[in-house]
């Protein structure tokens, strides 16, 4: 068991240097131990003990963080970069897992180093897992059903639109449109939902909602009303089957467009 800590300025600088080194040399060893003591980190107050744990997905990580922090004032957690960065280090082997040859792939630094900018903070693999799970609980599956080192397309596209992601009815509508649960217990994004080519895809939904939000009070609409507002291109996702066009029987001489004759 280890007491949760927060990185100091020195610790943050050290972690960034480590990330740069690994990015340049994916075989660079990463040592967690030095971040477990001063001057690289301080003990988080109140004291919370955590143990080494394997999380199958960000959903489980979000649940775990929500559980251990449920008694803590959100003010102490939101934007607490030192805390989120220390937790990233704690679970680093899952967040930047080495492949069988020992190579680690480091992506955008905002995934590991907390950036408070409102269009960046949700990229942090740990902080965003907590933030989204603590707000949406079971519904956060549409954002968090991925391994710890992966940000899914829904999160990438939706989380930077704060007006949308803060609206639970909107999240319900997205689940209704693009999420499927199989009979075998498996569930996930519907095929093609995040394809820009498919009509009524997730990106189109976001564009449309951003337009509708300017005119309608979407926040107060139940998800069913949001779905009703969507144009026909979304029918496929709503489960409405295309009805074949009936062939109009035409008279040999169709004068319907020439009534004056």
């Amino acid at each position: 068991m280890t007491g949760i800590r927060t990185l100091t300025g020195l610790g943050t600088k050290g972690f960034l240097t480590d990330l740069i080194k690994i990015k340049e040399n994916p075989l660079e060893p990463f040592s967690v131990a030095k971040y477990h003591e001063a001057p690289f980190s301080n003990l988080f107050e109140p004291t919370i003990e955590v143990e080494a744990k394997i999380f199958p997905s960000r959903m489980e990580l979000g649940f775990f963080l929500h559980f251990i922090f449920q008694e803590i004032d959100r003010d102490l957690l939101i934007d607490n970069g030192g805390l989120w960065n220390w937790l990233t280090i704690q679970f680093f082997d899952q967040i930047a897992p080495p492949d069988p040859t020992g190579n680690r792939k480091i992506g955008e630094f905002a995934r590991y180093m907390y950036n408070p900018h409102y269009t960046r903070y949700y990229r942090h693999l740990v902080a965003a897992s907590w933030d989204i799970y603590s707000k949406y609980r079971e519904k956060s599956k549409i954002f968090l059903t991925t391994p710890l080192n992966v940000t899914n397309k829904v999160t990438l596209e939706l989380a930077c639109h704060q007006n949308l992601i803060s609206n639970e009815n909107m999240v319900d509508a997205i689940l209704a449109l693009y999420w499927q649960s199989g009979n075998d217990g498996g569930e996930g994004l519907k095929r093609g939902a995040a394809s820009r080519k498919a009509p009524g895809n997730l990106y189109r939904f976001i564009t449309l909602m951003n337009q509708l939000e300017l005119t309608y009070d979407v926040f107060s609409m139940p998800s069913q009303e949001i779905l009703e507002l969507l144009p026909v291109e979304f029918n496929k996702w709503k489960g409405i089957k295309k009805t074949p066009l009936k062939k109009k029987k035409r008279a040999f001489f169709d004068l319907s467009h020439n009534r004056s004759v």
Binding site: P116, D131, S166, D217, S220
Partner: protein
Amino acid sequence: MKRRLNFTGKKKIPAKNIQIQIIRDNGVIKTFDAKINLRTMDLPQDAAVFVEAYYRLNRKRFNFGTVGTIIQPPDTGISDLGKTENLSFRVKVVEKSGKYGLILAEADTIRPKGETGPDSQIQSILPSEFGSDLGQQIWRLRYDSQEPILEFNKNIPNIRSLAKSDTGFFFYVYPQVIRELLTYMLLVEFVDPLDPAEEWQKNWLDFARTVYPENYPDQWKRDIPELKGEILAWIENVVTDFSMSHAGVWDRFLKSFDGGQAK
């Protein structure tokens, strides 16, 4: 200049018609009071009025009755939202008769009015934070949020009280904050002074124009470098007049040096 289309005739509620005051308990923000005046706006009396408090993913809505009868709900608790020091508010007037709730009028990114202190005017348009470890700096402006945030170093004892009521602190910090912010807006971000895109930019330009109404930079174009000098001169005039307008605070500041003899 950008053109905005407004097909539904949605009205903008002037900032002066809304006053939001946060209420603390033992220094911690708990609830808020809102005064909303829609009398002059020609809106249907039965349209619903909502106030939303928000920060990032967190949003909480409060029903303030109708345009005809604006009533603050008994519970305006916001302590569960997180980052309460930096909450923004929006007010929406929504049509009740239609099925989908057309927005008839709106005001967004409203900052609560300052509480007390020498410069409540700045506090009301500039969110501040007192929980940052700034090393050996006293204050810093942060631009990575939706609007600039003035950070104070949490390691300085009584920093909150200093920021609100210390006369020396006032003159060491606020003129430079105004100078930096206006320079950032006009010479770094190239905000168009005649058509600022965001509410916080408009608030700052309105504030600056109130302080120094002359020579407002209405011809600013980023591709005419000669105008930079004029912009900088205008900013300096705003800062000078802002400082001059606080003669009483200046006197108290001088008194603090010579045991009570104001010069």
